[in-house]
Amino acid sequence: MNLFQWVFVPLLVLSSALSLLRVLRGRVGRREGLAWAAGWGVAAALVADPGLSVRMGNLFGIGRGVDFVLYVSVIAGAYVALSLYGRSRRLEAALTEVVRQLAIEKACRGGDGPGASPA
């Protein structure tokens, strides 16, 4: 093993273990926590055994292991970006509804109408 592997394999295994611990302590949802643990675990395996990415790539007809990892990373990144976008849209909708309800509750009319009275 080289220095990179000595440093990052333990770090990635630790990250995987911490993710599992958060699931057990209820600090994160089971599906989300297990996905993170699996992701860190796969990363640790790939760093520990670089030939693993080549073998996995060959299963899909991709010759170079690094290409396989790149393709999977791009797809995973796109999924995460779209998930975050969806979450931000839901938050925006919730915020909008709260602001709207408050605004309508406090509406008032000015000038020569029925006075500056609340709606």
Partner: protein
Amino acid sequence: MARTEGTDGRPAAAGGASLAARSWVVVPSFNEAARLGAVLDGLVALWPNVVVVDDGSADPTPEVVRGRPVWLVRHAVNLGQGAALQTGLRFALERGAAFLVTFDADGQHDPADVAPLLAPLAEGRADFALGSRFLGEAPGIPWARRLLLRCAVLFTRVVHGPKLTDSHNGLRAMTRRGAEALRIDMNRMEHASQLLEQIHRSGLAWVEVPVTVRYTRDSLAKGQRTSSALKMAARLLLEKVLR
């Protein structure tokens, strides 16, 4: 059907009932205090039910509105024109509006165009009347803005469907049924395209009506840039993919 005036001098619908009494004009506004006063003075002369939705303005918009017989609904934070529009429509519907008009706060629109917009709705010919500067007039429009708007018309036809001559005009009218069919949840400028898509999908009848849109240096300075239009198009396409 010829438009007549009611006993109050305001536009009347068929049968003599006051169209004005049953209509609400929604004016979304963001930092338009300098021009809003003149806009409201023009509207309240003919239309008694006007609501300004102040979208978190940092200028004296509330003071301008409070000095006039106009309703004021204030967003605590800036959400976007789409959100302000939906807030105004909901407010008017809750107060029994039979007809609703959306009107920009920047002085580009002419209050005299409101009655012609409502005419086809009052006659029962349509649920939506969409203003078109290209059927009417657009004095002072720069050629670049005209080109951008034409591209927007083409984009709308390809992506959303309706064949319009002006797809981004804030002056529009709708019946209560039409307004209830809308659910604008795109807060920023993309709402205009979303609104057209929802109109198209609702199956309700719509017409285009010639209107005047005036361009001034101030309104052009605050208007949408080409880069914003490209971002808007990208976001609309993304929403279409995700939904």
